[in-house]
């Protein structure tokens, strides 16, 4: 297994782990962090392909992905904190207002 395959496989496994964490864990902030893990896995694959193609466009795209991820976290965490303040818990089982 050469380096490129190893790293893309690692990126795929990180994505799968993040997805599993999103499905399995109950704490909303931990779910947010698992989403960040998914994004990191995908970015690793992107960097591997950028380095193979020696393309500047892909590196610019990686940089823009970082910036967009930062902006997304800046909005998601305050929303989660407001929700937690409203429901007095971060447990996912309590957010059932839209159920039924």
């Amino acid at each position: 297994m050469d380096n490129g395959q190893l790293l893309v496989a690692l990126g795929a496994v990180l994505f799968a782990l993040g997805f599993a964490g999103l499905v399995l864990r109950r704490n909303v902030l931990v779910m947010l962090m698992c989403m960040e893990l998914m994004l990191n896995g995908v970015t690793l694959c992107l960097v591997v392909f950028a380095q193979q193609a020696a393309s500047t466009a892909a590196t610019v795209l990686v940089f823009l992905v970082f910036v967009v991820a930062a902006a997304e976290i800046a909005i998601a965490v305050p929303i989660v904190l407001l929700l937690a303040r409203h429901k007095h818990t971060l447990d996912l089982g309590a957010y059932t207002d839209l159920k039924g």
Partner: protein
């Protein structure tokens, strides 16, 4: 040879951090393992020769995103129920699904043939080339991203104001 060993070391670190995120109980420990994963990924990027991306990973992800997450986790109450019961109801099907998912991904990867090799640290990517290409060809994307960031700042302030109004 040292570059190859470093690559394996950082890959193992990233994997360990990812698995630890699923298993650990306290959100602060999960955040610490995510920081470990991100730093290992930065090490992988540096070992591949794109130290520009590695520096941005540390600066933006670890230095801003994770600092924000740790700040939010610091304000949590330790008696929250989600600390004792970690997993949602779908634990067994979830783990089975994870195994299937990883198996499917690795199978597709094997079938697609070799991705192509990269020697660690073969081509060093310079900051100057990156920034010149960025601002000559992709300056529109740069400006659109700054508009996106401005929208994020306005949205954060709006959330803050909504919270104040809600508290009365």
């Amino acid at each position: 040879m040292i570059g190859q060993a470093l690559l394996w070391f950082f890959a193992a670190g990233a994997l360990a951090g990812g698995v630890a995120m699923l298993v650990l109980r306290h959100p602060m420990h999960v955040a610490l393992s995510l920081i470990g994963t991100m730093l290992s990924l930065a090490g992988i990027y540096a070992a591949l020769g794109v130290h520009v991306v590695a520096v941005f990973q540390v600066l933006i992800y670890v230095g801003a995103v994770m600092v924000f997450m740790v700040y939010a986790i610091m304000l949590l109450d330790v008696r929250d129920t989600s600390f004792t019961s970690r997993y949602s109801g779908l634990l067994i099907p979830g783990v089975a699904g994870l195994a299937l998912f990883i198996g499917a991904l690795v199978y597709v990867l094997r079938r697609e043939g070799p991705v192509g090799d990269i020697a660690p640290g073969a081509t060093a990517f310079r900051v100057e080339r990156f920034s010149v290409d960025f601002l000559h060809e992709y300056w529109l994307h740069f400006e659109l991203t700054s508009v996106l960031l401005l929208a994020a700042v306005v949205a954060a302030i709006a959330i803050l104001k909504a919270k104040r109004r809600g508290d009365g």
